[in-house]
């Protein structure tokens, strides 16, 4: 499998050289790597900024989704009231409201974090609700036959059943979260990988933009695997 990737890079490199494509349109992989090394401190610093915005927003989205999901899963009235609002909120294009959020919250990190929350709370919420409702009837019958309280059923049955669903939501959400940070940085920022891409393309520094995009991709993949790593340790009963 790695041979395939290697072949793709080699093909890329050779085509750029063979057709003499200018670096400001499509830089060769070696050119991107050279630029990345040259700009390493800036790239590292801006990666940290984007990572921080992404993680803070992601964690806050989880914190927000947990109580909402519990409320919606266990209470029919809450579901009728909240679900339409949340669905409406989800249906608003986040890219379109990003300038407004910057307008309201200023130039700090917070507008980016809010955009990350908006982008990634929904997949977490929907999966969590589905998980909290996924307890099999046979297991619910068992708990009822023991006279278990709603609280006991929640703790011993609903939460463990919901965990794999929760992690599925998190894995979808965390890749969205990175995109959310970049959207925020595109609209207004002085730092972050999104800002770096914007600046470098406006100055025809295309290799640097490619390096930043590569870093964003790596960041996304790393976060995804990080969650998978946690999931394997928490949900250790599924084969």
């Amino acid at each position: 499998m790695p041979a395939v990737y290697l072949a793709l890079f080699v093909a890329w490199e050779l085509s750029v050289r063979f057709f003499t494509i200018p670096a400001w349109i499509l830089p060769a992989p070696t050119e991107i790597a050279r630029t990345a090394l040259q700009w390493a401190p800036e790239l590292a610093l801006n990666s940290l900024v984007t990572l921080r915005e992404t993680l803070v927003g992601f964690v806050l989205a989880i914190a927000l989704s947990l109580p909402l999901a519990v409320l919606i899963a266990l209470n029919a009235t809450a579901r009728r009231l909240l679900y339409p609002i949340l669905l409406g909120l989800q249906s608003v294009p986040k890219v379109a409201v990003a300038p407004l959020i910057i307008l309201w919250l200023g130039l700090s990190e917070w507008p980016k974090i809010v955009i990350v929350i908006l982008v990634c709370f929904f997949p977490i919420l929907v999966n969590l609700i589905a998980g909290l409702e996924a307890a099999p009837r046979t297991m619910l019958d068992l708990m009822r036959s023991l006279g278990a309280s709603q609280h006991m059923i929640f703790r011993r049955l609903r939460v463990p059943v919901a965990l794999p669903h929760f992690f599925t939501g998190c894995k979808v959400a965390v890749t969205f979260a990175v995109i959310g940070s970049v959207i925020g940085e595109f609209v207004a920022a002085q730092e972050g990988l999104g800002y770096l891409i914007l600046i470098s393309t406006s100055q025809s520094q295309t290799p640097l933009a490619f390096a930043a995009i590569a870093l964003l991709t790596l960041l996304s993949i790393a976060l995804f695997h990080g969650i998978e790593w946690i999931e394997r340790r928490v949900v250790d009963w599924t084969p």
Binding site: D141, S145, G147
Partner: protein, 271 residues
Amino acid sequence: MIAAAGGLAAAPPPAADVAAIDLLGVSKHYPGSAGKSVHALGPIDLRIPSGSFVAVVGPSGCGKSTLLRLVAGLEKPDAGTMSRYGTPLDAPSHEVGIVFQEHVLFPWNTVLENVLLPADVLALPKAAARERALRLLEMTGLGAFADHRPQMLSGGMRQRAALCRALLADPRLLLLDEPFGALDALTREELSLELSSLWQDLGRTAFLITHDIEEAILLSDRVLVMSPRPGRIRADFVIDLPRPRNADTPRLPRFQELKQEIRDIIFDRRA
């Protein structure tokens, strides 16, 4: 496989004439398709005397699982009265242990944690419950598997663990909903015999739902035969085979005779 009931106290002798379960004119409908309701069960009269082992056999779809869910307090009847040890039966009770057709063990808990579930729900004293759970697991040959997850166990072992869980809170009445239905024939027979000796040691009341006529005869004092939907009790057999029963019991002529009689009723071939 099951040793004598080392240390598990037998139930106190029940009051002479209070039945464990008493159903009078009980029937149940379910909402069906196109707004029509399906008459699933009854009217049924059923009395399970304290200390006896009563089985219900019938073809699939005859409403026998519905009957067990009613007796368990998991569902309410549309008509009729139900009582449990002389008091109205309208909700599940901790005096009742249930073994379901599927083992229904939680895969995220160990075998011991699963067996201890009733203790957690009923807030029983932890140390005593743990001791009893370990003793039950020992009696059913699962002592070495207490800390395993249930998915590591074979089907028969899982059903044994489910039986231990049902017995943990020392229930007066054990409800068995085709408990060995999902197992292969050999394991089923082995577990039936184990259950028979365990039941005799503990001196509990048991109510078994099954489609397996031999299993019903082997275990029970009485076998009730149900008709197809709407399920009604069509015949009531007293199983006068000697106890303790063992692997040789099915070879007794009386066993074969009872089996044939029950089959004839189920298949409607009685002359």
